[in-house]
């Protein structure tokens, strides 16, 4: 099959009267740099990256935003986001963000962190940034596993779940129970907004986007720390197809980590 065939094949249904600028309703944001994402097929990281960039573009705050990437699969987040970014040491994103926000209080700062990064090695930094009520957004990608290092147990791994370091399933009597860090930090007075969303369906993607937007608004109003926990998949390390992985989110993750607001600012309760 040669290249000509291919193009023809893919475009035979294209409606030339619809695909014009006038009728454009959705395109990816300009701030999402147009190169291949290194993520595995179907990985939720890409969706959340895009949503962040959509919100930042739509709110027109590119020149105000500074992002902090973690160590984890999303370590390269800065390769895709056309904004100023810093790459933090594993677990220290909220400390780095504290450093940034304290010297640039008028800017909008967010961290983007995985469950290993935020809830294992970075526990102290997470708790204390939240407790100080650092006025930034923490985007917390909970995929119940260490993605980047190939699938070890995370603090959020479900009981019984098989990972490379729990080859016989997570035994809570040895490794403890999954850590619901969102519920924990929600109790800290400095924290203004904690919500749990997912990106495994279009509706949930929409809700996640709304949460991100809200969080930036709260930050503009100096309300304190916002944390958005996004349940995400890791098809590669869960050893599933992307579709199976989304089913797993629906059937296993959400029952354990229920979606919805965990804390909202007082006046909105």
């Amino acid at each position: 099959m040669d290249e000509k065939d291919l193009k023809l094949n893919e475009t035979e249904f294209l409606n030339e009267d619809i695909c014009v600028a006038e009728y454009l309703v959705y395109k990816k944001p300009e701030t999402l740099i147009d190169i291949d994402l290194h993520y595995c097929p179907g990985c939720g990281h890409g969706v959340v990256h895009r949503l962040l960039m959509e919100v930042i573009e739509e709110m027109n705050i590119v020149d105000k935003v500074i992002g902090v990437a973690p160590v984890g699969c999303s370590v390269f987040a800065y390769n895709y986001m056309d904004i100023d970014m810093q790459e933090a040491a594993h677990g220290r994103a909220t400390a780095v963000a504290t450093g940034i926000k304290r010297v640039l209080p008028d800017k909008l700062v967010f961290t983007y962190q995985g469950d290993g990064d935020l809830a294992a090695i970075g526990t102290a930094e997470t708790i204390h940034a939240c407790n100080r009520g650092e006025n930034f957004l923490i985007v917390f990608i909970n995929n119940a596993v260490y993605g980047m290092t190939s699938g070890q147990m995370a603090p959020t791994t479900l009981p019984g779940m098989v990972t490379t370091t729990t080859p016989f399933g997570r035994d809570t009597s040895i490794t403890g129970f999954p850590l619901k860090i969102s519920e924990l930090v929600a109790q800290l007075p400095g924290v203004c907004y904690v919500t749990r969303t997912s990106v495994h369906t279009a509706g949930n993607v929409r809700r996640t986007k709304k949460a991100i937007q809200k969080a930036f608004e709260y930050q503009m109003q100096n309300k304190g720390t916002c944390l958005i926990e996004v349940l995400s998949n890791c098809p590669s390390n869960w050893k599933m197809t992307p579709l199976e992985s989304n089913k797993f989110i629906e059937e296993e993750m959400i029952p354990f980590y229920p979606l919805g607001d965990i804390k909202v600012p007082k006046e909105e309760k």
């Binding site: 290194h38 993520y39 595995c40 097929p41 699969c73 370590v75 980047m148 590669s236």
Partner: protein, 185 residues
């Protein structure tokens, strides 16, 4: 005797396993072996490769820049490794997936339509064994039984029922190069 080879392709094509089977086969024959994978996040949907060395003597450097054989499972691998074949060495490539084939004239080049053959077996996963068969068909580095030994080591117990299929794929690969060689020779 020392044979230094590299197996390279997309993640998921089984290139690391192919090299590993070769090393186990060498081990089975009492040879010195060394297998060295590329590792890390480039694995995320990217490319993977491994060096496999089989030798009668102790192996010094596991790091090499010139290979007796290159086994390329895709276009990027051909592009990357063609120049690293020693003069007189072999380059095997999966010909269904490769649009611009290698061009060197000082090495032996073997286009292997492994994907087609694997399709015929209704199992794309055995593509790597076809390539390995081609490789060993030319180099005769190890015995066929040693390859089967290697398969047993590499496949988890619960997949041992797939050994015959894999062996078949291996033999197809061997046959493919025999055909080529017979045409040439």
């Amino acid at each position: 005797m020392k044979h230094e080879s590299v197996f390279s392709g997309f993640g998921g094509q089984g290139v690391l396993t192919a090299g590993m089977i070769l090393c186990y086969a060498g081990l089975n024959e009492g040879k010195e072996v060394c297998w060295m994978p590329s590792y890390g996040p480039e694995m995320r949907g990217g490319t993977a490769n491994c060096i496999a060395i089989v030798s009668d003597e102790k192996i010094s450097s596991p790091i090499i820049s010139k290979f007796d054989s290159v086994v390329a499972f895709n276009q990027p691998s051909v592009d990357k490794f063609e120049s690293m074949v020693k003069p007189g060495g072999n380059l095997f490539y999966e010909s269904t997936n490769v649009i611009s084939p290698p061009t060197r004239t000082d090495i032996d080049i073997f286009p292997i339509p492994a994907a087609n053959e694997a399709n015929k077996l209704n199992n794309l996963k055995v593509l790597n064994l076809i390539m390995l068969g081609a490789f060993n068909g030319v180099t005769n580095l190890v015995d066929d039984e040693s390859i089967v030994f290697g398969l047993k080591q590499v496949l988890p117990e619960r997949y041992h029922n797939l050994i015959p299929l894999n062996k078949e794929a291996y033999l197809i690969g061997k046959r493919l190069v025999e055909d080529i060689l017979s045409k040439v020779g």
